[in-house]
Symmetry: C2
Subunit: 340 residues, 2 copies
């Protein structure tokens, strides 16, 4: 089956504009078929503003309800049975789409995906994997960043296997380096959870480099960083906080004198480069690993470029059959564990 991505057209903060534009770009540049899921009239009105889109492989699938950012995840999943998320994920379950992309409420998207798609055999808990840039122009992933807050060592073991497969399949690294997020490099460092997980990860047939610290996240020396969802989420959001702080302070300083302002004007393109390298919209969103189907979640603030990239990456995820690799390798891990 060629790639068909079901796109939640109602998800982002400025929906449906970025979604429609991103879908058009993805269809045009990558030849991906996109099913735009949401209120048909709204989508049709927005689509009509792009006459050139008429020949592209886009279709509209009506869904009468929308889950908002303010909705509580569990309640929204229960109450809104015809939400664009639920309808979109149903397309994946029924084999009418190869993947789903949403820029909507993350908690609701995860809960809906778990319910509609179900888990891959061998995965006790799915994990959300964030992709980010490093200082040496590579990318790295951190998982889980919020799908599960109270994890067992076995959960972390499964996150490691899933993250490694994802990284290897998507970024072409033959033996990605896998690290465990902790508070010191020695294996005795960490909390109860990470100390136990350390021993499980050491036995896995992958390139486990041991504990890594927060300051190693962005160094590029490790590709896949494993953490429980609470810690991963704190690390991710703290990073956003620091980036905002740095931007705010630098902006203030650069405005203070005329000389500095002139200097800034001359070096402005460097700041544009800088912004682009830190720009999450280039990375195509975070996959929810461990569910029986392809589900990508992107920022609520996504623009068309972010949506386009998420559609591209979701299509690749499906084509590379990452889910069946996860199922197969986790079965291997179980057999190995039982035989020891």
């Amino acid at each position: 089956m060629p790639s068909v991505i079901a796109l939640d057209a109602m998800g982002s903060d400025r929906a449906p504009k970025p979604e429609i534009e991103g879908a058009i770009q993805a269809a045009r540049h990558y030849g991906v078929r996109v099913s735009l899921v949401g209120n048909e009239a709204t989508i049709r009105a927005e689509l009509s503003r792009y006459p050139a889109a008429s020949g592209l492989p886009l279709e509209i699938i009506h869904a009468s309800e929308v889950i908002t950012m303010e909705d509580k995840a569990v309640q929204a999943v229960r109450a809104k049975r015809d939400s664009s998320m639920r309808v979109g994920l149903r397309l994946v379950r029924e084999g009418r789409a190869t993947g789903f992309v949403t820029a909507g409420n993350t908690g609701a998207a995860m809960a809906t995906a778990k319910m509609v798609l179900g888990g891959i055999p061998g995965v006790d808990r799915p994990a959300l994997a964030a992709v980010f840039p490093t200082a040496i122009r590579t990318v790295a992933i951190l998982l889980d960043v919020g799908a599960n807050v109270d994890c067992t060592p076995e959960n972390l073991e499964q996150f490691a296997v899933m993250g490694e497969i994802y990284f290897r399949s998507m970024f072409g690294t033959r033996r990605p380096k896998v690290g465990l997020l902790s508070i010191g490099e020695e294996d005795t460092k960490g909390n109860e959870l990470t100390r136990e997980a350390f021993h499980l990860l050491k036995k896995l047939p992958l390139n486990f480099v041991g504990n890594v610290e927060g300051r190693d996240l962005y160094g590029g020396q490790v590709d896949v960083i494993v953490a429980d969802g609470f810690v991963g989420n704190v690390a991710l959001k703290t990073s956003e906080g620091v980036a905002n702080l740095v931007r705010a302070i630098l902006k203030e300083s650069l405005k203070e004198t005329i000389t500095r302002q002139v200097g800034y004007l001359l070096s402005r393109s460097a700041f544009a480069d800088f912004k682009k390298r830190l720009d999450h919209t280039e990375y195509g969103g975070a996959p929810l690993l461990g569910v029986k189907g392809v589900c990508f979640i992107t920022h609520g603030s996504s623009n068309a470029n972010a949506i386009k990239n998420a559609i591209r990456v979701a299509a690749e995820f499906a084509e590379r059959k990452i889910n069946s690799k996860i199922e197969k390798e986790l079965a291997g891990v179980r057999v190995a564990t039982m035989s020891t």
Copy 2:
């Protein structure tokens, strides 16, 4: 008793140079008496390079051993009974110094302080509090950043009380805002630990603003952020990682064209300002709250300025009788808890 600070003269990466210089500056500018603890010959040789120091209130206390950054904390504490850390902390216990400052091995410093000084009644576990700048030119503190990795809700409750007193006493904020580091603002968000701690913190007679997220750390909207030592340490080190990434990328970008280089030269003073605002050496190190005595730990990379500021802040900590306030307020919390 006037302030006498026992300074570990052998702690930092470039010891004893930054220590001696920092001690001289603190003695000169703040009139603090400093006991330089470490190898007498080494200290005397370094001191002799500063003839103007001879009239200052500095004395040398010999200690024959040094705990290195490579030493394992627990082993070092047991094996090196005449380390500069242990001798310095003993001066505090015996009332011969009002506080102790070290730029040495953090783990060993915490372990030695707990052993030599003992805990304040009412504190089950001490906490290390990091001080950092915010976007609105205030400071905030995060605790614990690594003293205790597996915490109970009651530990976090005590951290909140101690952190609030520290902040109020040192930065003159009448009602500091206290937040709990979590992964969403609603009280139902978080892991088991934070959800239980939330309810305890809500009952405390302090300005509890609820859950805060990683991205709020540097915003300046909250003054005291409470976390278990594992999460706090990850947040702190992740921040360092992001700051390094941002610096690396910006430096690279600014070198790429001649125009950008000229621009950088003109705006260079802005970058110097920027660096100064993010500079940890201005903040005087992290107090270990909850031990019966004053103990400050600064970065291993500390320069003279960092040491000078740590001596100043440690002296203020003692003068403001923060430890007896902590003891008194925690007794109040216990009474309140028992009566409900």
